[in-house]
Symmetry: D2
Subunit: 380 residues, 4 copies
């Protein structure tokens, strides 16, 4: 049976532009899909850069103005991999044009902005998804399955952190290519929207809704040169953010993100303690799941380091043979494959824009609490 | 030169009575000390138990009423290893009688209670110490040295947790031998005074004062049978406790303790992230220090797992040969040795009662915050 | 500048056919190469399977008789990913036809067979390479650099093992698809040629030539059903193989491979102990290198777990950002990229057929010693 | 009931003199024993040193000539903790005098020497034991229990190594206090009798007899100054030793020891692979047992890191509470307790002199093979 072509335009040629391009290239090689993704066009602000990116990744065309992609009839799907301040405008335009929309996380810079995006795709009734890629780490996907099967029993604790160390030097600028995440106008917030958002998305998925939070943020380096202006300016993003929370299921949550944890490049860790079993996972060894099962015989109870490389583990039958690990990029390939499978099945893959809005409600509450010094209720 | 005898009475014959007895027995074998500790008397509520304990550990006598020890002229030092509700009364009486006083942690059930104890020993001008034993884990002591040498540079983050899982079952009673820690009258608080207090004491020692906190506590099992009455009663201790904090040096702190973390028996972990280096340590592998030094050559930077068993590591020249680890009990031996050395040198070993009071101010603030939902300033 | 097309035919559509196809697909996306690999044809014994494989992976054509590929003028490179018993015949024919030749390891089933292959490519003067992919694990490549820079000093010990557990059940057949490695006629030997060969290739690369060996092999399951005949027949491969060795540089070697190590799927580990530093690496966490440097300050010496994900690590600048790991398949991508770069530079990438012959001399000596019970000198 | 006093004389005041003294001091505090060990006398060559040692450890008397201890009627047990060249003479004299004899490992410098010792104690029918202390690491003891319960099924592989790095510098002398292990006259052999002997004793205990071996040894530093003479002399011990073996149960063995493995202080590791389960343990984290059970549910199979600190683990009910680790010295305490319990029960604790002779047969065969280049049969 001939596959249906799905014409894709990716906006953004940076780090995320690369992961998305690779995801669509690789998904059909490893997953049996009804749709054949076609890399139709890529758009970056710089025409030469766009053309080079297109040549490298096999896109049929390139643009330097994303609006042209919205107008093109040969594009089915707009995939947004550009900085946060562009998400809403592009997504709303794409939805209005009847195109499917995928968007890098966070969805919007604020929950209010994200709400406009949700409204747009829901009004247009177009397939949509947000790239919270860590749901598709096989170990994390398996954690979800284990929890859904009730293997942990009642949950008492959820704790997650995302630690980096790349902005410790005061010489790192704010704004500009590669450092726009330090510019509050572009990024919306600092680590709260960047790193904590990942932790929160996974937590909501694994452990359900968060009722309330109390948080604190800090900006360790108060002034940085702005790459656009060359002027030193106040840093308005949060360098570090942490919060306590109460989940709706009665469990307690503890979350932290920072770019000032010397020695950690991208250490996202999560742990869930249930009555019967506990789970631990970390991104620096993403191919392992730590599992403790209280039902094991007493003297032999211990944390199991499960090497998530067997065919019976989520996604892994599509890859190599037992014992051989996959890496970071595969989470995007899985997400692309799931999105395409969702198109075929009619059961949209998560997280949709609406799913991702829930994360924005939490990050908004954290930032609000950091200012108010109070516990804040999370919107629903 | 003949050693000076130091006549010791230990009150309490449980877990801590054993660790203290062992500490005083072993310290002189491994450390060159001017004082010779003499196990003069032990006191437990049950006369038979006291006698058995004395016979086992080589005490010269036993008592079932601690007041008799206060009256005995042949006792130089009262060491309190009995439940928390007895600390203040004994300590104050001992100090009033001019005896040296050592006390298991936490010092008092509340800061107010602890203040009366501090006042008593300071008025009496008697040597005093609190058994916050984890300061004497060689890896932790070395962390202190590294920080004091400025090797970490400016500190950004401090995080610590103490996880256990022994009270998950609703069948564990409150009150009684071995379970008095679940009885708020006896223990004062739950994990806050029991486990968090350890985390806080170490934090204050390593990272200086805490300015303010916001915390949350939870009691997962609301009703438990009381071992004394046989009646089911409300559980008034905190099963879990966590808080965010701001240290006076500008760093952020994140603390958590619980007895509901399935898979962890006594997992006390701490991590400190500085501008130049980071440290991680955990009690389940207490003989290792994890060290990351940003000054290492770039491509070879990595967390070093330092096996703290060499002669140049704190305390270790007193033990065996490189590669051979010591365990939990040695932290008490080190503390006993340091106390005795402090008597000889005239430089009291820490933490004194006053030092330990600082921890009480933090735990009080955490518990207050857990009720108020506000950030609370920590007293000084 | 237009890239030169390099027309590739891959023979074999199994596990290795997939890794090679992926390697040639992905290399040009991540590496700047003068040549553009074109997946011209794939060949498997089954015409339908070949066509399906071609469709999935984007090959322009498919064949079920490899000889047709030799005859085709539009093929520049024959890449052999079929079982061991086919390597020599195909490679020799390809070389005779003037084609470049790449070959899965081991080169031949015996050193004698491998010698005919070396002679063929050297006579034809065609570029050639053997897929000992583990040289291109970034951590292993970095180990090579560290050794070549003299950072380890004089080498004392080299130890490697490759442990699997997939043939413990007596129900695994010999021969047939997926299990031909248990058929001595097809595979040549058991774990010696399959797993030990990897360990030896890396060892020769990192630590130089092996002078002599004494080995032992064992076949735990003596009889297995043959998938081709359905008959139970004697198992003639080695299930386990181990040997002691002396390297030419005076260091001692210890090697072991087995498919009977319960709990290990593909645990290839290697450790090198030098006068100044030591290295450890294992395939189950291939993105980490363990490094111990005696020149570190005494009290802070420890094994560093280096997360090989930074731009300054070998190959890693081509991938994502620090902290994000790659996986198994990337080793093949690196090897394909290096081969193509070697074509452009005129400096052939290793290991060539001749390089790989050195490994065969060692495996031959091990198998000979296992029979003779003597130390055997390794040919050069 | 009054305890029987057991009057003990320890010969040797070095590292092992300390571990034994501590063992006899501590055993009665933690284990309920019918016998009360009395530290009656210690003997070292230097009278002042002996007196100091006695004062420190609480021995009632000291001697500088061990023969006087043999003559003393008030000594029940001679415990030999002096260098290897003294073992046989002392043990034979002690046995002839009707005294119980305990001896540090290795029993003799050669199997022939050890045989004379076995003959002596068996003729005299005196209780006897060799301090192969690693059998009493709780994790190792539990491994023994698991194997004896048949939980591993048929055993395929046994591998052990003991790695140190303290003699890499050519400045380390041979002979003299602390370095007598490098003097072949005193030590008998190098790492074979020192480190491999430990590995072999445990292996024979866990996995039964070794049928045959092929080995290799190396002396990396050929000349060292002798501490006694000040003259540079040939080094006659083995710096490194490794061997392949076949166990009587059909499993394969791989053993290695060296003092030239940079980065390892006392890394004794052992792994056993059985049909159903595997075990791994290492001395640098001696309080953990790694356990892989193939009977676990497929997707959740993984190596369990069992923290051997619970009351249901061997020996641990005598120590502290779950989660709190013990260390190296405790293995000697356990052995002393077991010896004393064996006296009371009439069931001698292992390893007896005869048990330890089996290890000598293996080390002799290894050293013989290292010279002959042949497989050597191990005597029984």
């Amino acid at each position: 049976m001939a596959k249906k072509k799905l014409n894709i335009a990716i906006i953004g040629g940076g780090f995320m532009g690369r992961t998305h391009s690779n995801a669509f290239r690789q998904a059909p090689e490893f997953f049996a899909l009804d749709h054949e993704p076609v890399l139709k066009a890529v758009c970056t602000r710089n025409a030469k850069g766009a053309a080079d990116f297109a040549a490298n990744w096999g896109f049929e065309s390139s643009e330097s103005d994303w609006r042209k992609l919205i107008d093109r009839k040969d594009i089915d799907l707009i995939d947004i991999a550009s900085p946060n301040d562009t998400h809403a405008e592009i997504a709303i335009a794409a939805a209005a044009a009847g195109k499917m929309v995928m968007c890098e996380k966070p969805l919007g810079r604020t929950a209010a902005e994200a709400e406009t995006m949700v409204a747009a795709v829901e009004k247009a009734k177009v397939p949509n998804m947000v790239w919270y890629n860590y749901r598709r780490v096989p170990a994390v996907t398996m954690a979800k399955q284990l929890i859904d099967e009730g293997r942990l029993g009642k949950i008492f604790h959820y704790r997650a952190k995302f630690l980096q160390d790349w902005t410790i030097s005061a010489d790192v600028p704010q704004g500009g290519r590669g450092t726009w995440r330090l510019d509050a106008n572009v990024a919306g917030s600092g680590v709260t929207g960047d790193l904590l958002a990942h932790c929160i998305d996974t937590a909501l998925w694994l452990n359900g809704g968060i009722a309330s939070v109390t948080g604190a943020t800090e900006t360790f380096v108060k002034q940085r040169k702005h790459a656009d202006t060359g002027e030193t300016a106040e840093v308005k993003i949060d360098d570090a953010s942490m919060f306590l929370s109460r989940f709706k299921n009665g469990s307690l949550g503890l979350f932290e993100a920072t770019r000032y944890a010397r020695g950690h490049k991208a250490l996202y860790t999560l742990e869930i303690n249930g009555e019967k079993a506990s789970i631990f996972w970390d991104l620096h060894d993403l191919h392992r799941l730590q599992w403790f099962d209280h039902r094991d015989e007493g003297q032999l109870r211990g944390w199991r380091s499960v090497h998530i490389t067997d065919g019976e583990h989520p996604y892994m039958s599509h890859w190599w043979v037992p014992g051989l690990q996959i890496g970071y990029e595969h989470t995007f390939i899985h997400q692309a494959a799931d999105f395409l499978a969702g198109l075929a099945s009619g059961k949209p893959a998560s997280p949709t824009f609406r799913d991702a809005l829930a994360t924005e409600y939490v990050t908004d509450a954290v930032l609000k609490s950091a200012k108010s010094g109070q516990w804040e209720t999370v919107r629903n």
